[in-house]
């Protein structure tokens, strides 16, 4: 058992967040075949604990920059499901007014200046937000979410170098799910931990279990404290696994890029199931309480997708709006 040392209310809030992400992504899986959601979806089922463990400890004003696989991060940071769902359907009431789609979720009021589909792109942007926070002295910190593939990009190394040089309040969160699209990390990087890349820049770096919310929470807490106290950046590599294919609602083991047994092994270590088991074991929360939360989240998701039906498509006369 590995639970953060926080109140029951807080523990339940984390459970809510994990569940919200999982059920939202599963709803996309259920609806995608209708082909009304015309946007490439990169689902994060299986990786929820990283998003929740990090974002649940950030202030609303703190910044996160996410990737093409951003739903979980944005939900965990507090974005309204209606705003995301509407964007997935390209509606004018979507968070990016139908201009961004699934890969470019944004909500400045939640500390989400945007998400980028170019691998490695989120990393310098977060460092820039941290530079901004430091220069403005507003006490905010910034988080860059990225995958294992991004650590092969020059922008990752350039960003670590600059963040370390200026001791910026930024946290580099690598979700190592071992695959960049269909290429295994062994085909792309020499053996060794991603976290070891931080050492060359003098950035405190750790590898940890990304499927254990308790573990993620603990490492994130230390990194957040360090950043807030002016101690500079931290690189955290969380090993985790995506259950779905790189893009789309299906699984991909059938194509041979990975084995079903590997997927099943990781499914046994489902982050949501592990957390639920742990909090039940701790004895202060009943399964009925959790079931009630499940129901509440389900109706939240029902509401967000029903909301989409009331939304309008963007007016084609606005095609050129927001270019500049």
């Amino acid at each position: 058992m590995n639970l953060p040392d926080i109140s029951k209310t807080e523990l339940l809030r984390l459970y809510e967040s994990l569940t919200r992400i999982r059920l939202f992504e599963e709803r996309i899986v259920d609806l995608y075949h209708e082909q009304e959601m015309k946007t490439p979806v990169h689902l994060c089922i299986g990786q929820e604990a990283v998003a929740v463990g990090v974002c649940s400890q950030l202030e609303r004003e703190d910044y996160i920059f996410s990737t093409h696989r951003s739903h979980g991060h944005c939900i965990a940071k507090g974005m309204q499901l209606r705003s995301i769902a509407a964007e997935l359907y390209g509606m004018d009431s979507g968070c990016a007014r139908g201009r961004g789609g699934s890969m470019h979720l944004v909500d400045p009021d939640c500390g989400i200046p945007g998400s980028t589909a170019i691998v490695g792109g989120s990393v310098p942007l977060a460092v820039g937000a941290a530079l901004s926070a430091k220069m403005q002295g507003n006490g905010r910190i910034a988080v860059a979410f990225f995958g294992d593939g991004a650590t092969e990009e020059g922008s990752f190394h350039e960003s670590l170098n600059f963040a370390a040089l200026h001791k910026l309040p930024v946290i580099f969160i690598c979700e190592n799910n071992f695959y960049a699209t269909n290429s295994h990390i062994k085909a792309r990087q020499p053996a060794g931990r991603i976290a070891s890349k931080g050492a060359g820049y003098g950035v405190p770096s750790h590898t940890a279990d990304g499927n254990s919310l308790g573990v993620v929470y603990e490492f994130a807490a230390k990194a957040i404290k360090l950043a807030r106290d002016g101690g500079g950046p931290t690189l955290l590599e969380f090993e985790t696994y995506r259950w779905k294919s790189h893009v789309g609602p299906a699984s991909d083991f059938q194509t041979g890029c990975r084995s079903e047994s590997e997927l099943l092994k990781w499914k046994e270590r489902c982050p949501n199931k592990l957390y639920r088991t742990d909090i039940l074991k701790a004895g202060m929360i009943s399964s009925e309480e959790l079931d009630t939360i499940d129901k509440m989240i389900k109706s939240e998701i029902d509401d967000s997708f029903e909301f989409v039906r009331t939304c309008k498509q963007p007016d084609i006369n606005t095609l050129l709006d927001y270019v500049c």
Partner: protein
């Protein structure tokens, strides 16, 4: 900075008035840039300058000299040799309340930051439905001569003008350099300011108080009736010299300084071509798919019936810049070539 309190420029040039104190005076292109940046830094704590070696004794060819001493290393910041990463870092800062000015001593360093400029900076406003703006200014200097060769003298405006979401301006006078740089910093559209190194010693009257010249408007530098000559940056001066020479043989040339290659002032081109019936375009860059092609296309689409001769384009040769002085001379267009081309059109 109370940017909204800064007025748009009232004209396209300024005049010195005798006995005026603290007003309009002669200033070089480099000093006009320096004054704009000094004013931006002093009035808005969100403005900072960053670039490779910008705080050294040279001060980016003198264009920011002394500013590092005045404002300190946190606001006039040296940076690692990491053009793409630092463009992203500046973009992230711009998205979150700052107004960075990223400075490259050579335009040739921009290709290393193409991912951040094209995929991120230029797209962010659109991709976020206008929710997040990127008020980032990038200065880059076009080199020429003394064997600068292929990687220290490129004129890459066409690459960037192709990308929606970016402003690309190329001031040709000290007056425009100050106003366009301040407008870039004051605005919310990411703007690339391309400065030709050979313009740095040019002098003209420049008002001391800050003023803004928005991207997108061209200027008629000389009125004429027989041929429209559209130029940008350093080529505007070459066109003015050519126009003087042409006048001696009775040809009246109108010279348009485009100033901004994105957005481009279509109307000033169309109106002039309708008046003169002939169009010559002079660019500091290559001919193929260049700005001159865009200007020619505008005339073709909107003033085809007025054209009395084929459009003529004066550009650098379609090869990398050579180092040899002899080849270099052949590579760059010159006044004699412009004059000959116009005579051919008449």
């Amino acid at each position: 900075m109370p940017w909204t309190e800064i007025q748009a420029a009232s004209g396209n040039t300024a005049k010195k008035t005798a006995g005026q104190v603290g007003g309009v005076r002669d200033l070089s292109y480099r000093d006009a840039i320096r004054e704009a940046l000094d004013q931006a830094l002093s009035q808005d704590p969100g403005v900072f300058l960053i670039g490779e070696g910008i705080d050294d004794y040279g001060g980016v060819f003198g264009s920011i000299i002394g500013l590092a001493q005045t404002y300190g290393s946190s606001r006039v910041m040296d940076m690692p040799l990491a053009e793409n990463g630092l463009t992203g870092i500046c973009a992230g800062a711009a998205m979150t309340g700052m107004r960075p000015v990223l400075i490259h001593m050579r335009v040739d360093f921009l290709p290393m930051s193409m991912d951040q400029i094209i995929n991120h900076v230029a797209k962010w406003s659109y991709m976020t439905g206008g929710a997040v703006k990127v008020p980032l200014t990038i200065r880059a200097i076009i080199g020429r001569g003394w064997g600068s060769a292929a990687q220290h003298s490129q004129s890459l405006q066409a690459l960037f003008a192709h990308i929606p979401g970016l402003n690309v301006v190329m001031p040709a006078t000290p007056y425009d350099a100050k106003g366009m740089l301040l407008a870039a910093i004051a605005g919310t559209t990411p703007t690339l300011v391309l400065e030709h190194r050979w313009l740095y010693d040019q002098v003209c009257a420049v008002p001391e108080e800050p003023y803004l010249i928005e991207a997108g408007s061209g200027v008629i530098r000389r009125s004429g009736s027989d041929v429209t000559m559209v130029g940008i940056s350093y080529m505007v001066g070459e066109l003015m010299l050519a126009a003087e020479e042409l006048e001696q043989s009775g040809i009246s040339a109108e010279v348009i300084d485009l100033r901004s290659v994105s957005p481009i002032d279509e109307q000033i081109i169309v109106d002039s071509v309708r008046k003169t019936g002939r169009l010559l375009v002079a660019d500091t860059g290559w001919k193929r798919c260049g700005i001159s092609a865009e200007v020619a296309a505008i005339a073709s689409e909107r003033a085809f019936d007025a054209l009395r001769a084929p459009v003529c384009r004066i550009c650098t040769a379609d090869c990398p810049t050579p180092a040899s002085p002899v080849l270099e001379q052949a590579f760059y267009p010159n006044v004699a070539g412009i004059v000959a081309a116009v005579r051919e059109m008449m």
